[in-house]
């Protein structure tokens, strides 16, 4: 929400960092990193954390934090698994509604259960934070223990598998290449149209616009990214379904944060809660809603995770919240609140996922992986904080 160029500069830097990282990993891995197959895996793996990162942008922009999202995702994933493995078959056995026990009905009910679980528990935490006035840090720290414990309790530590084949599609299916190409072309056309539209609009109101070359370059850059993405995915098996779902939800929430009353309120609360209160914003209600949103995203993340791995485990989703927070911060979301962009957080998530994936590919020992990720996070904040123009 800073000046136009400042935002631009920051996003260019982050995209540039991603490009440099990919080149480095490709060179180090003798090209193994940069194959359609590996990139496809990377996107699929990264998407589970990215769902949470989308919700986390709202949380952090409102000056809050959620440390429970990973545990909640694990719990929701287990609920989805139990739904199709135990509860629905049991229900079918006792009532004779066998249609519910497998196939699409089971898949849909399982996903719904995971999301409902996320929303409900997010709402409970929201009540504690917004109406109980307990700091979000504490509520969600407690929440993360509660959810993880609950998850251990319902799974009894054993893996829950296998998932229904239809449910697995959520994590494992791919769009046909034809559909992928069509969507890619629509996206490119939409980007160009939107850029032109908003430029004309800004000029109409006498606002400063980027120089034409920069505008063109930025547009070409975004389009190139889309085309690159689609062709890479298509030359493996097509765009993964979880990635499409992620992009759709990210688009939806980007719209909500920038173009609706709720979104503006989120940023206002994080920017200056006292001013927001006196400006007629219902602080409690907004914070409550934010925790429902992040809960819902944790639910989606959990369902996708169970579907992709074809199993629900007791430690599923552990540290997802930390990766999601890192993604937001790398994407320029300020922990002080009031700022944050969902598209940038997705790039942040991609950076984190690339580091994960690349290091596994290079057989970096897992202790090093942790150390390196920690350093990346701290360094990202260091750069971000110091590149913000200091103002009294």
């Amino acid at each position: 929400m800073k000046g136009l160029l400042a935002v631009d500069m920051r996003s260019y830097t982050i995209v540039l960092a991603l490009v440099v990282l990919w080149i480095a990993l490709s060179l180090l891995s003798d090209g193994a990193f940069f194959t359609p197959r590996n990139l496809s895996n990377l996107f699929r793996q990264g998407s589970v954390v990215a769902f949470i990162a989308v919700g986390m942008v709202l949380v952090i922009a409102a000056g809050q934090i959620d440390l429970s999202a990973g545990s909640l995702a694990g719990l929701a994933g287990a609920i989805a698994a139990l739904m199709q493995v135990r509860w629905l078959p049991a229900l079918a056995a006792s009532t004779g509604w066998t249609a519910l026990a497998s196939g699409w009905p089971a898949a849909i009910l399982s996903i719904a259960a995971a999301v409902a679980c996320g929303v409900a528990l997010g709402a409970v935490q929201g009540v504690w934070v917004a109406y109980g006035k307990v700091p979000a840090f504490i509520v969600t720290l407690g929440g993360s223990l509660v959810f993880r414990g609950w998850l251990l309790g319902i799974t009894r530590g054993v893996n829950i598998a296998p998932m229904d084949p239809k449910f697995q599609l959520l994590g494992q299916a791919y769009l046909s290449t034809g559909l992928g190409t069509t969507l890619g072309m629509i996206a490119v056309a939409a980007v160009i149209a939107y850029r032109i539209y908003s430029r004309i609009n800004r000029q109409r109101y006498g606002l400063t616009v980027r120089p034409v070359w920069l505008e063109a370059l930025a547009t070409v850059g975004v389009c190139a990214m889309i085309i690159f993405f689609v062709t890479q995915m298509n030359s493996y098996r097509g765009i993964p379904v979880p990635v499409i779902l992620l992009l759709a939800l990210a688009g939806l929430f980007t719209f909500i944060t920038t173009r609706t009353q709720f979104g503006r309120h989120v940023y206002a609360i994080g920017g200056n809660i006292e001013a927001a209160r006196l400006s007629g914003i219902n602080i409690r209600q907004s914070i409550f809603k934010i925790f429902m949103v992040v809960g819902a995203m944790a639910g989606v993340s959990g369902a996708v995770l169970s579907a992709r791995l074809n199993v629900a485990t007791a430690n599923a989703g552990s540290q997802f919240e930390l990766n999601a927070i890192a993604a937001c911060v790398i994407g320029g979301t300020s922990l002080a609140g009031g700022e944050g962009s969902i598209p940038m957080a997705l790039i942040g998530a991609l950076i984190m996922a690339s580091v994960d994936n690349g290091m596994s590919l290079l057989n970096v020992e897992s202790f090093w992986q942790q150390i390196i990720k920690g350093l990346i996070l701290a360094t990202a904040v260091l750069i971000d904080v110091n590149s913000r123009k200091g103002r009294d």
Binding site: M1, G3, R259, H265, A275, G338, E339, R391
Partner: protein, 508 residues
């Protein structure tokens, strides 16, 4: 000049630009040793920017030109450097740690210690001594949060003096002080002068400036317009140097058509949240008429802000009382309720309570009226832009664009943004708490004209102000608060400042 004065600070050709603004344009200025040098100028003239250069907030290299302290060229990398040189700055916004005691604050960062372990006794005795030396009347072991703004200001001064201050800079130190507190502050500054401390004093209150300054410099649009001995200047001359033209009067003429009662407040009693102690507002009743300005006067802490904030639904707990709006009793429990009923509250402290400093003008202005801009649940960005442009033009908000971050605006323009936010909600009752605090004469006049414009359209205004001339210049009636109660309500014809003060202090 008859006698040769020694120059303490020489500023030579200093310029500084921000994107879109030239904040300082080739400013050269001498400050003599031992003098009180006032700097005047409209909002955004560049006063604070110049002081931030002197104090190292803007480090060497971020501006052009140079300055010398006793002949030594200064190139500060940060505030620490300037403190080493003996330059101390006191801002309008206090920089104390509220949870710590007075003594701890005064010696913050310079605690007497041995191997890092603080000597508590020495800390307190050192602070005590300092306070006594400058005759500052504050209890050493009190928590800063328990002090009034005026006393906090004194702690701030003591803190500044705890080092070896050669040059003390005060940037709008009195804008939040009562008359008494201001008097004390001016006395202290004069005493400091007697001890050889040189002072740069920035204020929008010209009375103070004339009372205390030896010389006055005026900045306009980043340029130094001139420097002269105070004795050679008068109020009008300084104002015309500031605004670049003659100003006929401080207040626009008042021609109001006051209508029927629109809002009645009855037996209003409020206690602090959680505190079951004495009510902060007790049994206040008044009527507000359509198109009138009701001034609320009173000393700092007399419950004026609490009164208006509680009417707006955002302060403490109401014990008793009734609000009648347009003849109907209404309940207002939150700012949402208040806005729905056509009330608006321009809060006292624009940085803390009115604005989201890191957000642009655009979203700050529309945050309270987004509902009006929705089309199918979505904010219509074109309508939003054009609405904000209208307000920018109407209130003459000086900014490169509506996307400029509010933090980068000068005080007066920030206040205009806050006013625009409330005008956009189209209120029938506009409550303004200290509407002209920290804004310059020219802008004040604009705000007053705007108030008249609003009342002529039937808006009613409640104006809380600590500046009696303003209350007398703008109000139709004046409600005086004293210690949470209503000391009186008088028609504003032929009342004198003394009569109001008498009501406010209760001294007979």
């Amino acid at each position: 000049m008859p006698e040769q004065k020694k120059v303490l600070l020489r500023i030579s050709n200093v310029s500084k630009s921000f994107p879109g603004t030239k904040a300082l344009d080739n400013v050269s200025l001498d400050v003599y040793e031992g003098e009180i040098h006032a700097i005047c100028g409209e909002n955004g003239a560049g006063k604070s920017t110049l002081m931030k250069i002197l104090s190292g907030v803007y480090p060497g290299g971020s501006y052009e030109g140079e300055f010398f302290l006793q002949g030594t060229k200064c190139q500060f990398a940060g505030v620490k450097d300037s403190e080493q040189f003996g330059i101390r700055i006191i801002y309008q916004e206090l920089t104390l740690v509220p949870q710590m005691t007075v003594a701890e604050n005064i010696l913050l960062g310079a605690e007497p210690n041995k191997y890092g372990i603080i000597n508590q006794n020495q800390l307190y005795s050192q602070a005590e001594q300092l306070l006594k030396e400058y005759d500052l009347n504050v209890p050493c072991s009190a928590k800063v949060s328990s002090l009034g703004i005026g006393q906090q200001q004194m702690v701030e001064i003591a803190k500044a003096l705890s080092g070896r201050a050669r040059l003390l800079i005060l940037d709008e130190p009195t804008s939040a002080l009562t008359i008494d507190e201001t008097e004390t502050l001016l006395r202290i500054i004069r005493e400091l002068k007697g001890r050889g401390v040189t002072c740069i004093y920035i204020s929008h209150k010209l009375e103070e400036v004339f009372e205390i300054a030896d010389r006055i410099s005026v900045l306009r649009d980043g340029k130094l317009i001139g420097t002269a001995e105070t004795s050679q200047l008068d109020h009008n001359k300084v104002v015309s140097m500031m605004v670049g033209r003659e100003m006929e009067s401080q207040y626009p003429p008042r021609q109001r058509q006051v209508g029927d009662v629109i809002l009645s407040v009855k037996n209003w009693t409020v206690v602090k949240d959680g505190g079951a102690s004495r009510p902060v507002v007790q049994d206040v009743s008044f009527d507000l008429r359509r198109g009138e300005v009701l001034g609320i006067a009173g000393l700092m802490g007399s419950g004026r802000t609490e009164l208006v904030q509680s009417i707006f639904g955002e302060y403490g707990k109401r014990v008793s009382g009734e609000l009648i709006l347009n003849g109907e009793p209404v309940t207002i429990n939150s700012s949402q309720d208040a806005i729905k009923h056509g009330l608006a509250l321009l809060a006292e402290d624009r940085k803390q309570l009115s604005l989201i400093l890191k957000h642009p003008i655009l979203t700050n202005v529309t945050i309270s009226s987004l509902r009006e801009l929705l089309r199918g649940g979505v904010i219509d960005q074109n309508r939003e832009l054009s609405a904000v442009h209208d307000y920018r033009d109407r209130l003459a908000i000086k900014a490169p664009s509506v996307h400029t971050v509010v933090n980068e605006l000068s005080g007066g323009n920030q206040q205009k943004v806050a006013i625009a936010k409330w005008l956009m909600t189209d209120p029938q009752v506009l409550i303004m708490d200290e509407p002209t605090r920290g804004i310059d004469v020219g802008t004040k006049y604009e705000v007053y004209k705007l108030m008249n414009d609003l009342t002529s359209r039937g808006v009613s205004i409640i104006m809380v102000s600590s500046e009696l001339p303003e209350v007398l210049g703008m109000s139709d009636r004046i409600l005086v608060m004293r210690e949470g109660t209503m000391a009186g309500i008088v028609d504003n014809d032929n009342v004198s400042m003394e009569e109001i003060m008498l009501l406010a202090t209760g001294a007979a």
